[in-house]
């Protein structure tokens, strides 16, 4: 049984222009289905506005989806009551893109990491403090810096703090929403390695949202490509990168920078009319789906 199963997820945002204007509906997530197996890293890629972040937030119910099912560890997340959802959230966490806005600037970092334990009333004050030190150690931060404020840390360190907070409740599943795209390239590698190292040590499952394809190729076992709210192609990473089937995937892959200025390369420019946007996903090879 997969750890996470998303079925026909839809999120519509409606907006009315003026008081008497017509309501326009934007489908940010349009009938998205995929599964994430226990222990794997599933990549969700696409350009900004493709709906990948909204999909992640709908799974955690940070945004309420319009319709569809999200089954996590056998439970339908979307039908949980408030109390059940609270408990379920101990098992599924999120790491945000922006390490600056994701930490409350008025709180000490030790309190930020301790907060999940306080919310779920876990342990005594001393036990919680000990756990926070342990978590700081786990993500490679100095446990003597608990009393500092977020602004005293670098972007990479802040992302580690965000990660420590997400790990505090011992979740089995983490949505990493562009966790390194706001960081310097040199720091990106450190944080990615930390994520992979933690996955091994704590047997974590990741839903990795990204637009950096090289990164996705490096760490994801399977990947889904989103375009305008729909998944247009999905499959094993190696296979999908080697034999992309959908025109959008091909265009996206051709845009990966090559670290050689003389290398011959051909950018494919996507012609939005060259394919049928309503085409359903179909299996074109074992485990490889494309909407062509």
């Amino acid at each position: 049984m997969p750890l996470l199963e998303v079925r026909h997820l839809v999120k519509e945002f409606s907006r009315r222009r003026g008081i008497f204007g017509a309501t326009s509906v934007v489908k940010a997530v349009d009938d998205v289905s995929f599964t994430v197996e226990r222990g794997e890293t599933f990549g969700l890629v696409g350009e900004s506005g493709s709906g990948k972040t909204t999909t992640g937030r709908c799974i955690l119910r940070l945004i309420e989806p319009s319709s569809g099912d999200v089954v996590f560890d056998g439970k339908d997340v979307l039908t949980l009551s408030r109390g059940e959802l609270r408990r379920a959230r101990r098992d599924m966490q999120i790491v945000f893109q922006d390490p600056y806005s994701s930490l409350n600037p008025r709180m000490r970092v030790g309190d930020i990491v301790e907060e999940p334990l306080v919310i779920h009333r876990l342990g005594s004050k001393a036990e919680r403090r000990a756990r926070v030190r342990e978590l700081f150690d786990l993500v490679g931060l100095n446990p003597d810096h608990l009393e500092r404020h977020p602004h005293e840390f670098s972007g990479g360190q802040r992302q580690r703090i965000g990660l420590a907070r997400a790990l505090a409740l011992n979740p089995s599943f983490i949505i990493a929403d562009e966790p390194v795209s706001a960081l310097d390239v040199s720091v990106q590698a450190q944080v990615v390695n930390l994520l992979m190292d933690l996955q091994q040590r704590l047997t974590l499952t990741y839903l990795f949202i990204a637009h950096d394809l090289r990164l996705v190729e490096h760490i994801c076992s399977r990947v889904a490509v989103m375009y305008l709210g729909k998944i247009v192609e999905m499959g094993e990473t190696a296979r999908l990168f080697a034999t992309p089937q959908h025109p959008y995937t091909r265009a996206l892959l051709s845009a990966i920078p090559v670290p050689d200025p003389d290398a011959p390369r051909q950018r494919i420019v996507l012609d939005p009319n060259s394919f049928n946007r309503a085409a359903p996903l179909r299996e074109i090879a074992a485990g490889h789906y494309a909407a062509t």
Binding site: L62, R89, I94, P116, I119
Partner: protein, 264 residues
């Protein structure tokens, strides 16, 4: 500016707490033989229509002014912050309800509403505070609502939700603190407003009742002697103007400190 404001406010607080110790006269002791006597070394601010020492009365009046200001500001900021953060954080129907209440109260001339309320409830210090709170919370609520609307979208608020924090905790720990600087500025300026409002209501006979000295009632008493004994009105008037100016300076200064971009 912030220094001038701080000094004025500190002097007022000092006078209000130590006032009775500082002057040798009882603020309500009458010496009718010396009524309306002009300022002299023994009575630097002169004596009023019943022969009471005006300086002593000003010092005990400062206590009333500051107490009313403090009571109004704390009660209305508490109500305003609660309702404002509820409206801003939850949005939807609750927001509509609270926002319409704010709009309606904003459309009323505040002091008229306070006069009407005190007229109905009966003149007393408690009712003055009550009436001023009824209109006072609106400013804080509007301010905090705006901040809460903004803070709701912050990623650390989303993170708290993802961790399973309840709305009460999120509002208290993550949303409200973003509004504190603005609330402090508003509260300082609100002190000035409350002091003026209390003086106005007392001047109209709707506030503090004689013989308790209040700057507003002192102005009212001096009104009939405006030409033969102007010191009856000049000193309380100066006291009100100075203290209000002090709080305004302090508030403006704080605002500039907190948001350097808004400096003019």
């Amino acid at each position: 500016m912030i220094r001038v404001g701080t000094v004025i406010v500190l002097i007022a607080v000092f006078a209000a707490t130590l006032g009775p110790v500082l002057t040798p006269y009882d603020p309500s002791a009458q010496t009718l033989a010396q009524r309306l006597e002009a300022p002299s070394p023994a009575h630097p601010f002169g004596l009023d229509e019943l022969g009471r020492d005006i300086l002593s009365r000003l010092l005990s009046g400062a206590r009333i002014s500051l107490l009313v200001g403090l009571a109004v500001v704390s009660v209305s900021s508490l109500i305003g912050m609660t309702l404002g953060s509820i409206a801003g954080y939850f949005g939807g129907g609750v927001d509509d309800l609270i926002s319409r209440a704010i709009d309606i109260l904003m459309a009323f001339p505040g002091i008229l509403l306070a006069i009407a309320l005190v007229a109905v409830l009966g003149p007393s210090l408690r009712n003055v505070v009550l009436a001023l709170c009824v209109i006072g919370w609106v400013g804080y609520a509007r301010l905090v609502r705006g901040q809460a609307l903004r803070a709701r979208e912050f990623e650390y608020v989303q993170a708290a939700r993802a961790l399973g924090a309840g709305p009460a905790r999120i509002v208290a720990r993550h949303v409200l603190p973003t509004a504190y600087p603005a609330v402090i500025v508003q509260a300082t300026l609100g002190m000035a407003g409350a002091i003026i409002a209390e003086a106005s209501l007392s001047f109209l006979g709707l506030g503090v009742q004689p013989p308790t000295p209040s700057w507003g009632t002192m102005l009212d008493a001096g009104r009939s002697h405006l030409f033969d004994a102007p010191h009856l009105t000049v000193f309380p008037g100066l006291a009100i103007a100075t203290l209000v100016l002090g709080f305004n300076f302090l508030g403006d200064g704080l605002r500039d400190r907190i948001d350097p971009k808004a400096e003019t």
